[in-house]
């Protein structure tokens, strides 16, 4: 049992190290900061600027969280506090199905439904011209994909709040909504942060569904109707072409390393927030 636990603990370290070792040829030639602060991406000419890919990753993930978190939170509150018990019985299988649909199916759905909708209806209504392959489409798909995970965790967390707490609050004359706001949400702050962290991790790494709708354009998007190129898509699209260009493989491994670092950073931030709540 100890060995199993140790193996699991060492795994992330090994992956990070492996990626670092593989990307050393690139890091020897260019400075780390130069790589992540430039946008010029042209491997044939030896330009490996990663900034547009980092920006694309953050944009798509950020957008998806802006959509998924409020929806999940409101739904979780409704299901656990207001709804009849039978609704829970319906919601659970629905979430399992949503979580179980392969991401490539989400991608195809996005191409068939969301992309045309954005290019024909939404973008013109907002006064933009867009092909529909853009970060908004990626964000919407990621939001749909990460909602089941976030919602599941939040429902479980809300169910752990003792009924007595709510009863006390209500008996002091607080309204039901005030009780939810000041008792339930305050009690479960940590869990909510953790669920958002889980959603972010899920979104950051999602590859195929996003690359099908995000446009794969290496640029820093100026608005949500422009295409972008997230790090996982860069890896997935180009892993087949690396043998003919020097340093290409190292650059792709470096992209993997960046993704790894971003995920570590997000986890650290959410852990830090939760830790600080303890201090209060």
């Amino acid at each position: 049992m100890l060995i199993a636990t140790l193996t699991i603990s060492v795994l992330p370290l090994c992956i990070g190290l492996g990626l670092l070792i593989e990307s050393i040829p690139l890091l020897q030639k260019y400075h780390f900061w130069r790589l992540i602060s430039h946008t010029a991406w042209s491997p044939m000419e030896g330009k490996f600027g990663m900034l547009s890919f980092i920006a694309g990753t953050l944009w798509v993930t950020g957008l998806s969280m802006c959509m998924a978190v409020p929806v999940s939170l409101l739904a979780a509150i409704y299901i656990t506090q207001y709804a009849k018990p039978w609704l829970m019985g319906i919601i659970h299988p629905i979430m399992d199905i949503l979580a179980g649909i392969p991401s490539v199916v989400y991608g195809v759905g996005g191409v068939l439904i969301i992309v045309p909708w954005i290019s024909e209806k939404l973008a013109p209504a907002m006064g933009y011209s867009s092909s529909g392959y853009c970060i908004l489409a990626g964000g919407i798909i990621l939001a749909v994909m990460s909602i089941p995970y976030i919602l599941h965790l939040q429902i479980e967390i809300f169910r752990t709040v003792p009924v007595e707490l709510k009863e006390v609050s209500l008996s002091l004359g607080a309204s039901y909504w005030e009780t939810i706001k000041y008792v339930l949400l305050k009690q479960t702050r940590k869990g909510i942060i953790a669920s958002i962290g889980l959603g972010i991790s899920k979104s950051l790494g999602e590859t195929i569904a996003v690359l099908m709708v995000v446009g794969n354009v290496p640029q820093i998007p100026a608005n949500v109707f422009q295409g972008a190129y997230p790090l996982p898509a860069l890896l997935a699209n180009n892993y087949g072409e690396m043998m003919s260009i020097p340093l290409y493989l190292a650059a792709l491994m470096f992209a993997g390393l960046l993704l790894f670092l971003i995920i570590c950073l997000c986890n650290s931030i959410s852990t830090w927030i939760i830790y600080n709540m303890h201090q209060v």
Binding site: P43, S129, S131, L211, N216, V217, S244, P246
Partner: protein
């Protein structure tokens, strides 16, 4: 309990019987790579199997880059390849034979309000360079010197593809310099242009035309190339109506090369396996009779002869 025992016995017997049946040896040939060559390879495999039932084929399309990677990794016997090898790639000991010809054509959505005008005028290489290399959001007024705010949505390939590399070569650059929305695969790129009224892209000819009718697929049109740069499409530049005309133009060189190009089978080093060599020789001889009907241009006779010669060289 008794029933489980019976079941076990049944399973064991069937497995023993099955292993005994594998006397007639089947041979698998695994092929991946360029979308451009995929339909023709499938056709060849079908025909070849009629005469050689003991050969099985696993064929899948994933772009020329994937074909090359799989061949180098030993995951494949043959790669379908639709561009020239770079010097670095050639150093890896890649062996190739040309098997047919086709072309990459620039495409546009059929409902584009300016299509009639574009069809009359055609676009020059310089116009295409402006469209595919600028990376800015363009409108047609910057290409056709008319006042028009109709935007151009440029679509390119996101995967490592021979079509994109060949199209880039025509424009004098590499695939990574093409700027536009990247879509995976040949069929995907055609669909993106069909779906977007302002869409402009490029495709292998076989994914634009319907083989049965020889007409273009519903919703997609070809942008005629103004080869002599005289600002209009002349009679000898007009051959896009029917698939056979296009193939004829590729064959007699009226359509420039690139974007017309030979298609190759590649392998890691010269093939040694007799079954594989037999199949490749069949492709270069009897197999050539299916090239036209599958929607490709047959190779000139001397090219085929020199390809056949490579088998006899040490």
């Amino acid at each position: 309990m008794k029933r489980t025992n019976w079941l076990m016995l049944l399973l064991i017997t069937t497995s023993i019987l099955q292993s005994g049946c594998q006397h007639n040896h089947t041979h698998h040939i695994r092929i991946t790579g360029a979308f451009a060559l995929y339909p023709l390879t499938v056709k060849w495999a079908e025909e070849y199997k009629k005469a050689h039932p003991n050969v099985e084929f696993d064929i899948s399309a994933g772009g020329a880059g994937k074909g090359l990677t799989d061949v180098l990794a030993g995951a494949d016997d043959l790669g379908m390849f639709s561009r020239e090898l770079t010097p670095e790639e050639a150093k890896k000991g890649i062996w190739k034979i040309a098997v047919a010809k086709d072309a990459v054509l620039p495409t546009i959505n059929a409902r584009n309000p300016l299509f009639k005008l574009i069809q009359k005028r055609g676009l020059t290489k310089t116009d295409f360079q402006r469209i595919f290399l600028s990376g800015k959001s363009l409108a047609w007024d910057s290409i056709l010197d008319i006042s028009s705010s109709i935007p151009i949505h440029v679509y390119i390939r996101s995967d490592a593809s021979g079509a994109a590399e060949t199209w880039a070569k025509y424009l004098g650059v590499k695939q990574e310099n093409l700027k536009g929305v990247g879509i995976y695969g040949d069929p995907g790129l055609a669909d993106a242009v069909i779906k977007d009224i302002y869409g402009v892209g490029f495709n292998n000819a076989i994914y634009i035309y319907d083989l049965q009718t020889g007409k273009k697929r519903e919703g997609i049109e070809v942008i005629p190339i103004d080869i002599n740069n005289n600002g209009k499409i002349d009679a000898e530049e007009l051959f896009y109506d029917d698939f056979n005309q296009v193939l004829q133009a590729i064959s007699d060189g009226r359509y420039p090369s690139p974007p017309a190009r030979p298609l190759y089978f590649i392998s890691k080093g010269k093939p040694q396996d007799p079954d594989l060599i037999a199949f490749l020789k069949w492709v270069l001889t009897y197999g050539q009779s299916f090239v036209k009907s599958a929607g490709y241009v047959p190779l000139p006779e001397e090219t085929i002869q020199s390809s056949l010669q490579t088998f006899n060289q040490p």
